[in-house]
């Protein structure tokens, strides 16, 4: 099992969710986060006081999937989140040792 963690542009969230639902992913966790990569930040000016805002708002999506599905899921997210502009985000794949559905007590693959 793996965790697929994608950092994407906020306005792409709906596209990514629809695409993932389309390939049979029925659950995900979404967090509003801030960060920067190559996009860097921007400058804000308040009455002449200039502030460099280096952390930009992004959305982090986490999906737990079976190892066999990882490549397909990563491609789906990448295709849905892509605009071609700088700042599209990144996708990380992490290992996942155990899983448990609290209500039923099911574990691992059955719990995803």
């Amino acid at each position: 099992m793996k965790i697929v963690m994608a950092i994407i542009k906020p306005f792409k969230l709906d596209d990514v969710r629809d695409a993932l639902t389309g390939v049979g992913v029925h659950g995900m966790t979404v967090t509003e986060v801030k960060g920067y990569g190559r996009q860097k930040g921007h400058t804000e000016i308040y009455r002449g006081a200039e502030y460099a805002v280096s952390f930009l708002p992004k959305i982090k999506i986490e999906v737990a999937v079976a190892s066999s599905q990882v490549d397909m899921i990563v491609e789906t997210i990448a295709a849905a989140a892509k605009t071609g502009q700088i700042g599209d985000g990144k996708i990380f794949v992490l290992g996942l040792d155990n899983a448990l559905r609290i209500r039923t007590g099911e574990t691992d693959a059955a719990a995803l």
Partner: protein
């Protein structure tokens, strides 16, 4: 024959005197005592409430939106508490010190606790109840110290602010108000013009805030950390309420509901509009983007610049004065402040002090009948500008020296600043035990 046609025929036939005689009858012939005017009284009650609208919620929200969210409530509390405190002090001895006979610099104690004021007394040579006059002036004495708060926010102890403002109105505001607005006052006798408070309110507050910003010191992280305003929307709402309330401030300063108030009304519209466009234009040209905060800052700068001139200059003079005041204030807020490095956090000096100085001096120029102003007796432009300059310098020195001494005294008694820990936590929690936004 209706009253209107009677007036018209009287005017045409016999001139003004005949009208008076016709309308007033024999009772008026003997007693020239000022008659109470219900029209004037109604307008002045309205104006008083409009100036209160400038303080709460106007100024409180304007300032509150400009600080970080952890200090929002501290600003709202400071504005409300300082205004309330100075209103009570006004009744105890403030009105007496400012508006009774004394010497050229300060009044006396004859009207302490409003001694001798009844619901039947009228203002000096005027036509409104003295209660209305002193209530109107009370709101001026309350908004001026509240303006100073903008130079002290996010780091000054609440107790220090209350103590300082109590001392400041006593030793700085009341004397200056007496000098400018009382018949015996030094600047009044000199012939310096200040229609609605350019020196008494705006230069005064601007200088005190500058002295305070320097003596209290910069906020921790100033120039390094992100200190962007937490709610520009509330700042817009507050700025808009200031403009609306300012009609009481300026047009109310006519003390009558007549032609002078009408002129002040028009000037308070057009000077402000010109100033908003002025700031917007220079910012757009210099920084590449026209901002909301810039435009609303221009509004305030224009209102300040037209304050001393409101009932004295013509609308075209007002447009020029507003635009010039706004552009000079822009230059101070964006360039001079950064170059000198003082933390006048909400630009009280940059906007009120600087536009107040421009307006006070400009009043001496644009009051000229040749430039559309109403003129004053024996007007000479150079002589009048010189008088205005003297008034500005007196205000700067009186307030600058007085404020520095008072800040020092307050520092010795209660201390000016909160601890670094409390400042980092935010004054809302550390000074007031509450939070503006719970989410």
């Amino acid at each position: 024959m209706t009253l209107k046609t009677l007036l018209r025929s009287a005017k045409g036939g016999f001139g003004g005197l005949a009208v008076t005689a016709l309308l007033a009858g024999p009772a008026f012939a003997q007693a020239p005592a000022p008659a109470l005017s219900e029209g004037n009284t109604a307008w002045m009650i309205m104006s008083t409430v409009l100036v209160l609208l400038m303080i709460v919620p106007g100024l409180a929200l304007f300032y509150g939106g400009l600080v970080r969210s952890k200090n929002m409530l501290s600003v709202l509390t400071q504005v409300l508490a300082v205004a309330s405190l100075t209103m009570i002090v006004w009744i105890v001895y403030g009105y007496s010190l400012a508006f009774t006979a004394g010497n050229a610099f300060i009044g006396g104690f004859s009207k302490m606790f409003l001694a001798g004021v009844t619901h039947e007394t009228v203002n000096d040579g005027g036509s409104i109840p003295e209660y209305v006059f002193l209530a109107f002036q009370m709101t001026f004495a309350a908004i001026t110290p509240a303006l100073i708060i903008g130079g002290l926010v996010e780091r000054t102890k609440f107790s220090a602010i209350l103590l300082f403002m109590l001392l400041w109105v006593t030793f700085v505001y009341y004397p200056l108000a007496h000098m400018v607005w009382h018949a015996d006052g030094y600047l009044m006798k000199l012939g310096a013009l200040d229609f609605a408070g350019g020196t008494v309110v705006h230069i005064n507050a601007g200088i005190a805030a500058l002295v305070g910003a320097i003596m209290v010191g910069k906020r921790i992280g100033y120039g390094k950390d992100l200190m962007s305003p937490h709610s520009m929307t509330l700042t817009f709402v507050g700025g808009a309420l200031l403009w609306i309330g300012w009609f009481g401030f300026n047009a109310g300063s006519a003390l009558t509901a007549g032609p002078v108030a009408a002129l002040a009304l028009v000037n308070t519209l057009v000077a402000t509009a010109a100033a908003a466009l002025g700031w917007l234009a220079v910012e757009w040209a210099a920084k590449g983007k026209p901002s909301m905060l810039g435009t609303v800052s221009g509004v305030i700068a224009g209102l300040v610049a037209i304050t001393p001139a409101a009932g004295l200059v013509g609308p075209i003079g007002a447009i020029l004065l507003g635009a010039i005041g706004s552009v000079v204030a822009y230059f101070f807020c964006t360039t001079v402040k950064n170059a000198l490095g003082y933390d006048d956090s909400l630009d009280v000096f940059g906007i009120h002090g600087v536009a107040g100085i421009v307006g006070s001096i400009g009043t001496g120029i644009f009051v000229a009948p040749a430039l559309g102003g109403v003129g004053v007796e024996d007007y000479g432009m150079l002589a009048q500008v010189w008088k205005q300059l003297v008034a500005v310098v007196v205000a700067i020195l009186w307030c600058g020296i007085g404020s520095a001494i008072l800040f020092k005294i307050v520092d010795l008694i209660v201390g000016l600043r909160v601890t670094a820990e409390r400042e980092r936590e935010g004054l809302d929690l550390s000074e007031h035990g509450e939070r503006a936004y719970n989410m």
